[in-house]
């Protein structure tokens, strides 16, 4: 954590702890639903939990990027975002192949992991672009106000 500045560290801690709470909440709901209705939406319940933890991890990663706490000062954000975009696209394309069905008998199979991975990488790139765009617009607005 030493390569991040104080603000980045604070944001990382903040959204990690939010993700912890989110995960506890999701697991609790899943637990209650599982006890009362015997409803299982994935092949094994180990996979269910893995998907729930993926949701929490994706949440925290997106929040990192949106608040500018994902890349440290030395890393080139645009380069990494481009790389992640390519990786995400590749895993999404391979994830959607007909030989690895995602849903069998109404239950999610472990092939979803590839898709989740791809989705996460893609979301990283998209969120980074969104952040760049929002920052640019903010700067433009501030510039206009300055010159008016």
């Amino acid at each position: 954590m030493n390569q991040f500045d104080e603000y980045q560290k604070y944001m990382r801690y903040k959204y990690d702890s939010h993700a912890f709470k989110l995960l506890l909440f999701l697991v609790f709901i899943n637990f209650v639903v599982g006890i009362y209705t015997d409803f299982q939406w994935a092949e094994t319940s180990g996979l269910e939990h893995l998907i729930l933890s993926y949701i929490a991890v994706i949440y925290t990663v997106i929040m990192y990027i949106y608040h500018g706490a994902y890349f440290n000062k030395k890393q080139n954000g645009k380069l990494y975002a481009g790389l992640f975009f390519a990786i995400g696209l590749l895993s999404l394309i391979t994830g959607f192949s007909p030989y690895s069905p995602i849903i069998v008998d109404g239950k999610i199979t472990s092939n979803i992991i590839m898709l989740l991975n791809g989705g996460m990488f893609l979301l990283i790139a998209i969120t980074y672009l969104l952040r760049l765009y929002l920052e640019k617009r903010k700067n433009e607005k501030e510039g206009e106000e300055y010159y008016d």
Partner: protein
Amino acid sequence: MDNFDEYQKFMRYKYGAYSFIFLMLLIMINYLLSLVFEVQWAETKELEFFLLISIALGYFIVMSVYKGAFFHQKYTPTVYSAIYFFLGLMNIYVSFSISFIKDGRVTFNSIMLINGVLWFLIPAAYIIREFVEKRRDKNDIEEK
């Protein structure tokens, strides 16, 4: 979170983050164990997960109490720790009358014990914190 001051907020975020990472590590190890060796140490997979979460939660509780970030500013920690102490003691006492290991696997009865231990950790960490602080104060005075 408005009832906590800046230091407490930071500490809560920090240890919340650590327990999240810790939990992710535990989940990953458990998933790999069940995938490769087909190990199952609790009755159902849900229960396994529940117990792993309890470990992470216990870590968070201990660290936030120890760093003085568990109780609000308005609350009196001694009263609350006493209440938690009795809650924990009751839960643990009741849970010992039922067996929580069957055929080498942890059963659902262990939830009561885990609950009791989680309650119990609060006063335990609080007492240790008070003890350490007192000793530190004493050392400071002696040095002067």
